[in-house]
């Protein structure tokens, strides 16, 4: 095959045309596309980084809030437990005082009843003793007794 310079030139021109056409039609858009794509990727990367940072910050905040809530909850529970204990102790004290009071009153009542029984018995005994004395005296009293009662009376009166 023979290669004539004119063919060469034509070929060269073709190539150049092709080159320019391709450059305009293909290369530029591709480069543009690529640049746009990498920018987009860049942006996306940035936004996702920001998003991630934000997410981390949020998580941090969330965890902190959670910890605070946890502490608060524990504190509330502690306070309530303490208050409950105090109330319970209070109730127990009150109940104990009341029980002591009841026991004391019961003792006093029992003592009072015991004393009134004893007094009752004593009165009865006295009554019986006096009745017995009356009966004996009614039988035993003699004229001399009467005379000595009379003399005693006037001796004491004078």
């Amino acid at each position: 095959m023979e290669l004539y310079p004119i063919d060469l030139v034509i070929h060269l021109i073709n190539i150049l045309i092709l080159f320019f056409v391709l450059k305009r039609l293909v290369y530029k858009p591709v480069v543009k596309f690529m640049r746009a794509r990498s920018e987009r990727i860049e942006n996306e990367m940035q936004t996702s980084e920001q998003a991630e940072k934000k997410a981390l910050a949020l998580e941090e905040q969330y965890n902190q809030r959670l910890a605070e809530c946890d502490d608060k909850a524990k504190q509330i529970i502690r306070e309530n437990t303490q208050r409950a204990n105090e109330t319970a102790e209070d109730i127990v004290d009150k109940a104990k005082n009341q029980a002591d009071l009841i026991i004391k009153e019961a003792h006093e009542k029992a003592e009072a009843e015991r004393i009134s029984k004893i007094e009752g018995m004593r009165d009865e005994i006295a009554e019986i003793a006096i009745d017995i004395a009356k009966q004996i005296l009614q039988r035993e009293i003699s004229p001399e007794d009467n005379k000595s009662i009379i003399n005693d009376f006037f001796r004491k009166a004078e």
Binding site: R122, D123, A126, E127, I130, A133, K134, L137, Q138, I141, S142, P143, D145, N146, K147, I149, I150, N151, D152, F153, F154, A157, E158
Partner: protein, 72 residues
């Protein structure tokens, strides 16, 4: 003459009445005419009611005093 009442329990006799009358006359310094009432509930001794006053010297009063002393 002062009128008065004398309650007395058996056994007593005229001599006892005279002793009581002279005793009160000596004590009160007046003549007394006792209206004698036998009251055996006194069990022994006498009680005289003279001029609104009572002179108790009988067994029942004494027993009542004893009973009162028991109760207070």
């Amino acid at each position: 003459m002062q009128q008065a009442i004398l309650k007395i329990a058996r056994p007593y006799d005229e001599e006892d009445i005279r002793a009581i009358t002279s005793g009160f006359e000596r004590l009160l310094g007046t003549n007394i005419d006792f209206k004698v009432i036998e009251d055996n509930s006194l069990i022994g001794g006498f009680s005289a009611f003279i001029d609104g006053k009572v002179y108790n010297s009988d067994i029942v009063s004494r027993l009542n005093e004893i009973r009162r002393s028991f109760f207070n």
